[in-house]
């Protein structure tokens, strides 16, 4: 990690700890801020958070590894999470999954080499009556079909619409 990046992380974490309070209860909100802005929670970040909250870094790691929306390894600028649960399964999530893999050239659990996209499974997004559903970062898309997958990916690539705001907050690769 570059020294400048460490400094930025140091300052950001300081600001977030000040905002949420230097207590154990602030741990997850602070980690969520790091995840949102940096697309990953690096070992350096975990150590920094541990120092600020006066807990062992292993405690921080145990929390990061528990929650599926917190991730120790770098994720793409756009994280696509396709619902794999039964109602979306019945409306054809397997075909959407296949098309996502084809169009992005990666499998589920992987990130594209340009660092733009990660593909993950999600458990029930609460859109069971409008499946198949997927999340792209914080935004939900419903009734996705294999043909519309391409449009969604293109929209991300061009960073059109509300996604542009989400994407540009992310780390540039």
């Amino acid at each position: 990690m570059l020294v400048t990046e460490r400094l930025r992380l140091h300052d950001d974490i300081g600001a977030w700890v000040a905002k949420h309070g230097a207590t154990r209860a602030a741990l997850i909100p602070v980690l969520q801020e790091i995840q949102r802005s940096y697309n990953e929670i690096s070992e350096y970040a975990m150590q920094e958070v541990a120092d600020r909250l006066d807990i062992h870094p292993v405690e921080v790691y145990s929390v990061v590894s528990f929650y599926s929306f917190l991730e120790a390894k770098a994720r793409g600028r756009f994280v696509i999470r396709l619902c794999r649960t039964v109602s979306c399964d019945m409306t054809g999530k397997d075909r959407v999954a296949r098309q996502l893999e084809n169009d992005l050239g990666i499998r589920f659990g992987e990130t594209t080499r340009d660092g733009n996209f990660s593909l993950e499974w999600a458990n029930c997004l609460g859109m069971c009556d409008q499946g198949p559903a997927l999340l792209i970062n914080d935004q939900v898309f419903t009734s996705v079909t294999p043909e519309t997958v391409h449009d969604l990916i293109q929209a991300c690539r061009k960073s059109f619409g509300p996604l542009a705001v989400q994407g540009q907050k992310g780390r540039t690769h």
Binding site: R24, L27, F66, Y67, T85, V86, M90, C124, D138
Partner: protein, 396 residues
């Protein structure tokens, strides 16, 4: 009255702050008595009597108490809380404020699942508006009550819908359920008395205070009172959120949503039970088939073994890993379902799997583990001819 209707019917007709005004005009004990008299039971699925919970928290002596709204709606097939938080968020916050008055709490937390992060901005706006109108903050509506609510986000863990895991998560820990007792009403968030109620429960409580326990008891059955929202998905013509009085039969629900001819219905999501067509005369109620509201309809051509496999993959993924029956049991059941799919499971081994399922129901630490084998067990019980003796290739 609560007829069979699509969407939020009762909640949409609520007069803003009618329940809160009624509550603040009465002493705490009477508010709790009204909720108790309504026989309102928890809408998240477990069905614990709300009045009893509030009473226990009110009786606890502590410098601070907490009102927590469980909006970690993760049960597969459930989405009614999302719709309530979109269409009637004020009613939920009104219910939380009434609860704060009833138990003597000054602070509340709305625990919103990470998958619903897109709802956060609108909910923050609702909170801000309520603060401006004096419905949150110091001296609410001129009463001695001071109460405010903050939103905390989940991070994609189904188990955090379990109330003690939710509290662990709020405290900055892994979402691993605690041993109970002590219960949260005595020792919850920050070891202080805490009530954790579902989104729909708070909305119902506000309606009870507005319209009276008598009105609420007039809907539903003797044991299961009130209207209930159902999240309907799967093979039916009109999926979506529906409101029915508790006590409706499964057949009655299917007729309303256009799901006639279904082969089976999963009631209560992944942790619920699979009800075959022969039992569609059973009622959806705490004394019948209990549910938090998830209804997944399976048409005649659905492969029930595939359904069981999907649910078990879910539980293998979402088990917190803390206790052995749940962590290892779900992995073994999933392996067994795959053996069935490949036609490699003997009758004797299937019996072993069923026994394992019963052990998990008895020996798991929390509701997740205890209920995780339900879908598998009910599918094995009702669809044995369909799942046994499969030939290579996997399909029946």
């Amino acid at each position: 009255m609560s007829a069979v209707k699509k969407g939020l019917v009762t909640f949409a007709a609520a007069v803003p702050e009618e329940g809160l005004k009624a509550a603040l005009a009465r002493p705490r004990s009477e508010v709790i008595a009204e909720v108790t008299a309504s026989k309102l039971r928890g809408r998240g699925g477990a069905g614990f009597p709300t009045g009893v919970k509030w009473n226990l928290a009110a009786a606890a002596t502590a410098p601070a108490k907490w009102v927590v709204c469980n909006a970690d709606e993760g049960e597969p097939g459930t989405f009614k809380d999302r719709v309530i938080l979109t269409e009637a968020p004020d009613l939920v916050l009104e219910g939380m404020t009434i609860a704060a008055w009833a138990i003597g709490a000054a602070r509340g937390i709305l625990y919103l699942r990470g998958e619903y992060a897109y709802l956060r901005d609108s909910l923050e706006k609702v909170l801000a508006r309520r603060r401006e109108k004096g419905l949150l903050g110091t001296g609410i509506l001129g009463s001695p009550l001071s109460f405010d609510v903050e939103i905390r986000m989940g991070s994609g863990a189904y188990v955090c819908g379990e109330e003690t895991a939710l509290i662990e998560s709020l405290e900055g820990h892994r979402g691993e359920p605690r041993n109970r007792p002590p219960f949260p009403v005595d020792c919850g968030y920050r070891s202080e008395p805490t009530i954790v109620n579902n989104v729909e429960t708070f909305a119902c409580a506000a309606m009870v205070l507005a319209k009276g326990a008598e009105w609420f008891r007039g809907i539903g059955t003797e044991v299961s009172t009130g209207p209930k929202l159902f999240s309907v998905s799967g093979d039916c013509r009109e999926p979506g959120v529906w409101e029915f009085p508790l006590g409706i039969t499964i057949a009655g629900l299917l007729a309303a949503v256009g799901g006639e001819g279904a082969k089976a219905v999963q009631v209560g999501g992944a942790s619920g039970r699979c009800v075959p067509a022969a039992e569609f005369g059973r009622t959806l109620a705490f004394e019948g088939v209990p549910t938090g509201g998830s209804i997944i309809v399976f048409g005649p051509r659905r492969d029930m073994l595939h359904v069981a496999e999907n649910f078990l993959e879910f539980f293998v993924d979402e088990s917190c890993g803390q206790c052995t029956p749940c962590r290892e049991g779900n992995a073994k059941l999933l392996e067994g379902v795959r053996m069935l799919r490949e036609g490699r499971c003997s009758w004797a081994y299937l019996q072993e799997l069923q026994k394992l399922g019963e052990v998990m129901q008895l020996a798991s630490k929390c509701g997740l583990g205890q209920s995780s084998p339900n879908a598998f067990l009910s599918i094995v019980e009702h669809f044995r001819p369909e799942i046994m003796g499969r030939t290579a290739g996997g399909n029946a």
